[in-house]
């Protein structure tokens, strides 16, 4: 397939944006802000590439250098930071409509007005945050065009035909978004929900297209050895395209939920009235519920992704898990362990405001024990850092006990136990103020307990059994582990729903009476999510090592080396910090809608006096 020489810089723009570790972007506020930036980009791109001369033959034109240098921090770092920021906003604006819609539907089904208000409140966050997304996207585009011209030319050569549907979807997205947002309460609920569904479908499709571009860079496909395009569908449907799509949808929801929960926490801490407190307490809870629910299946999606990377190339797989980046996954384990711990912590503190939940308090220490042990197992590295003396005492850099904990069997088991434990915390929270009234209540609970115990034992058994079978079998064992955990969660939930159908309420949930520390736990979860995303962005881009497009376009710039984890950690921390400054601005702007209308000073004084 020959390159279409009449490419439009607008396509390039989106292409570049997709190359960030983010991808799924939703320019929702196209009309007021985004359109302006788009136009700027179009104009800018024409100036950056005079003559628009991107026929592929002339890609190596001497007038276009392969790289340009960004001052002080270097090209890579600036693109890295901007791309990461862009990704975080994109993830947020993609995810919020998803759970807003779900909440809206819940509201519609249960006829509970509260849910509808909450959904609208979430959607309000969108309006500002995606103009940030657009701004960052434009910035990223400019940077990539300026700093990595020849790489961008290659990407255009491969993906030119994916730009048309992208543009089309983009307009649809804008239309659905604004009709969904501005049309709140102005359509019949069914029509409005339909708009929401369409909004999500279009948003997801946009992300899928964008994902194709960036996954292609990791696992190029559908091209000849010299990089000529053979099959566009092959290039799109490369090895990790679908895994990344799935992983991103889920992770976006988790991330969006955690940010929304942080918003609730922020408002809660500032709330003056009991009513406000109750509302924002509830909002934080719902956001966190969404985040953690989406978070639970995430390790499975990650496993699928890792498997496909191995399938594509053993070298990439080993680079990722065993070589250069193996320590990164220890850091990741610490982050995710923290997430589990904080999520459970939030639930436990929340239970304090449920009358009747005291009876479950005694279980906390066992849950905590299980979490701690799993956390420790998961964070135990395979290659230990040990001094010569210690290594000699161990008989090498391999510890007989830690070595057992350092391999995949143990880690898989730990993750599954973590998931189960968190699920149990949820369950306890859920039945905090309820007492089952069905006649088979006792038996039902025993069955639940039985399933839980059996599955836990089964998961642990498989983990141990994994040490006694050959590796190919061991890899397969993770599947029954995952399935049994899923089975436990589904079946126990099913029984639970029946059990508590007409449950007797033993007490109220005293919304708004939660300790402030729970709100900080929500912040902690949001920060940790954002940081984990940043770290994973680093590894996803970093595993290509000295390639722009793995095995096809080599990175010959000064930044071809892979920086240390320590350096990445600092960049990620700074990026996340900037993100939170931005998101704080978003919170503040969103909060303006509830502000009293401006009045001249005298009037305000008067009203104060009147009140006094």
């Amino acid at each position: 397939m020959k390159t279409n020489s009449t490419y439009s810089p607008a396509r390039l723009l989106r292409l570049q944006r997709s190359l960030s570790p983010g991808g799924g972007l939703n320019l929702r506020r196209v009309i007021p802000f985004g359109a302006l930036f788009l136009i700027l980009c179009l104009v800018g791109a024409y100036f950056v590439f005079p003559a628009g001369a991107i026929p592929v033959q002339e890609a190596q034109d001497a007038a276009n250098p392969d790289y340009r240098e960004f001052p002080v921090i270097g090209s890579r770092t600036i693109v890295w930071v901007v791309a990461q920021l862009h990704l975080m906003f994109a993830a947020f604006v993609l995810a919020v409509p998803m759970f807003a819609l779900i909440i809206e539907i819940i509201g519609y089904v249960t006829k509970d007005e509260r849910y509808d208000h909450l959904a609208y409140e979430f959607v309000k966050l969108l309006s500002v945050s995606f103009s940030f997304t657009a701004a960052l996207g434009a910035m990223l585009t400019f940077l990539l065009l300026i700093l990595y011209p020849s790489l961008m030319q290659y990407m255009v050569k491969i993906f030119s035909w994916t730009f048309l549907p992208y543009v089309a979807l983009f307009f649809l997205e804008a239309i659905f978004l604004y009709s969904y947002y501005y049309g709140w309460g102005k359509f019949s609920p069914k029509v409005h929900i339909g708009l929401g569904v369409m909004l999500n479908i279009v948003g997801t499709a946009i992300m899928f297209i964008a994902d194709a571009w960036l996954t292609f860079m990791n696992t190029p496909n559908g091209i000849t050895e010299t990089g000529e395009l053979v099959s566009l569908w092959g290039a799109v449907n490369n090895f990790i395209w679908m895994p990344i799509n799935i992983h991103r949808i889920i992770a976006n929801v988790a991330f969006g939920g955690s940010i929304a929960a942080a918003y609730g926490a922020y408002k809660y801490l500032g709330a003056k009235t009991a009513e406000d407190k109750a509302h924002y307490d509830w909002m934080g809870y719902v956001g966190n519920f969404v985040a953690i629910s989406a978070f639970l299946p995430l390790p499975f999606a990650g496993y699928y992704l890792g498997k496909e990377i191995y399938a594509y190339s053993q070298s990439l797989g080993i680079t990722l898990m065993g070589g250069t980046f193996s320590w990164l996954f220890i850091v990741q384990a610490i982050l995710i362990g923290n997430l589990f711990l904080a999520a459970n912590y939030y639930l436990w503190v929340s239970m304090e405001r449920i009358d009747g939940a005291e009876r479950f308090r005694k279980y906390i220490k066992y849950l905590l024990g299980a979490i701690t042990i799993s956390f420790i197992v998961w964070a135990t590295p395979h290659s230990l850092v040990a001094s010569v003396e210690e290594a000699r005492a161990m008989g090498g850099s391999h510890h007989p006990i830690l070595g057992v904990l350092g391999v995949m069997s143990a880690k898989n088991t730990a993750v599954n136990v973590l998931i189960l434990t968190t699920y149990i915390s949820f369950l306890l929270y859920r039945r905090g103020n309820k007492e089952a009234t069905v006649p088979w209540a006792k038996m039902g609970m025993n069955i639940q307990l039985g399933i839980f115990v059996l599955v836990t034992l089964f998961v642990i058994f498989l983990g141990i059994y994994g040490y006694f079978v050959e590796a190919s079998v061991r890899i397969g064992l993770s599947v029954p582990q995952v399935l049994s955990v899923l089975f436990a969660m589904i079946s126990i939930t099913f029984i639970d729903v029946l059990l508590f159908k007409n449950a007797k309420k033993t007490g109220e949930i005293r919304w708004g009476e939660i300790g402030n520390r729970a709100q900080y736990a929500l912040f902690f979860i949001a920060i940790t999510f954002a940081w984990t995303m940043g770290l994973m962005g680093y590894v996803r881009a970093g595993m290509r090592q000295h390639w722009h497009v793995y095995g096809v376009i080599e990175d010959t710039s000064v930044d071809a080396f892979t920086p240390t984890i320590g350096y990445a950690a600092i960049v990620v921390s700074i990026t996340v910090f900037i993100f939170f400054v931005f998101i704080a601005t978003v919170f503040w702007l969103t909060g303006l809608t509830n502000k009293e209308p401006w009045k001249p000073k005298e009037e305000r004084n008067k009203s104060v006096e009147a009140a006094g």
Binding site: Q314, I364, I376, H382, S383, I401, L402, G406
Partner: protein, 270 residues
């Protein structure tokens, strides 16, 4: 496992139970108990880097526990406040205020006077192989290549047995000095090598690798390692200088056969 230490810790915990200690005391007791247990209860001892990581996680968990419940939180706060404010405990408070700085000073003293540590080599045990290598002049693709004799295992067991027997000879004439008679990395020269030779009985060595990976390691040895695996330290010879390709494959098959492991096979491509 050092049973005595563990028993002592459990005894101390039972003691706490009998004393009806409050949750703050429990947390301290558990922290100290786990610290002692992890430091002295496990043989061989854990590396200090791991120990501090474990203790950090445990600390986090204990803080979580203490603050998760309102009444526990209050109990903790009350205990601390009472201790600090109540006149009855003034003496003890002064003691603690003096003891803590002394402990810190002592720790500083220990840190500054301990024997110097030679540089640690954080070597990668299983580095990424190159895609292709040239063994004695013939190229071999590690990604797609496979053991040309493995198929004999099913197609011609007798020929396979001969290969194994040849592998045994090769092993005991070349490899046994470091990797040991029982392939546990404890040959007669192992004590003088750093890093120590690989233990093939361990489930995390050859069992999780493909035969082509082993072929790379055998053919190219220490000098063929990438820099993150400290090729200058490894005493693994580049066996292509001594052995034929067939001998190298044979000895690889013998390793798997003797240890009862199976090589990892490449996974299905979707």
């Amino acid at each position: 496992m050092n049973l005595l230490v563990i028993l002592a810790i459990i005894a101390a915990w039972i003691g706490l139970r009998f004393l009806k200690a409050n949750s703050l005391a429990w947390a301290a007791g558990i922290w100290v108990g786990l610290y002692v247990g992890l430091s002295y209860g496990i043989n061989p001892p854990l590396p200090s880097s791991i120990l501090s990581m474990f203790m950090a996680i445990i600390t986090l968990a204990l803080v979580t526990y203490l603050t998760a419940g309102n009444d526990r939180m209050k109990e903790m706060a009350d205990t601390i406040v009472t201790f600090v404010v109540d006149k009855r405990y003034t003496g003890a408070l002064i003691g603690v205020l003096i003891a803590l700085p002394l402990l810190v000073s002592f720790k500083v003293y220990l840190n500054m006077t301990q024997a110097p540590e030679p540089p640690i080599s954080g070597r990668t045990i299983h580095p990424v192989p190159p895609n292709t290598i040239t063994v004695n002049g013939s190229p071999f693709n590690i990604v797609e290549g496979h053991n040309p004799y493995r198929e004999l295992e099913s197609s011609d067991p007798d020929a396979f047995a001969l290969h194994l027997e040849n592998g045994r000879r090769v092993y005991y004439q070349n490899c046994v000095f470091c990797h040991g008679d029982n392939m546990e990395g404890d040959g007669q020269f192992a004590h003088g090598l750093d890093p120590i030779p690989a233990n093939f009985q361990d489930a995390t060595t050859i069992a999780m690798l493909q035969e082509s990976y082993l072929y790379w390691r055998v053919a190219k040895g220490g000098p063929g390692l990438p820099s993150e695996s400290t090729p200058w330290l490894s005493a693994m010879p580049a066996w292509e200088n001594f052995l034929t390709e067939e001998e190298m494959w044979d000895v690889i098959m013998f390793l798997y056969d003797y240890t009862g492991q199976r090589p990892r096979v490449s996974e299905e491509v979707h």
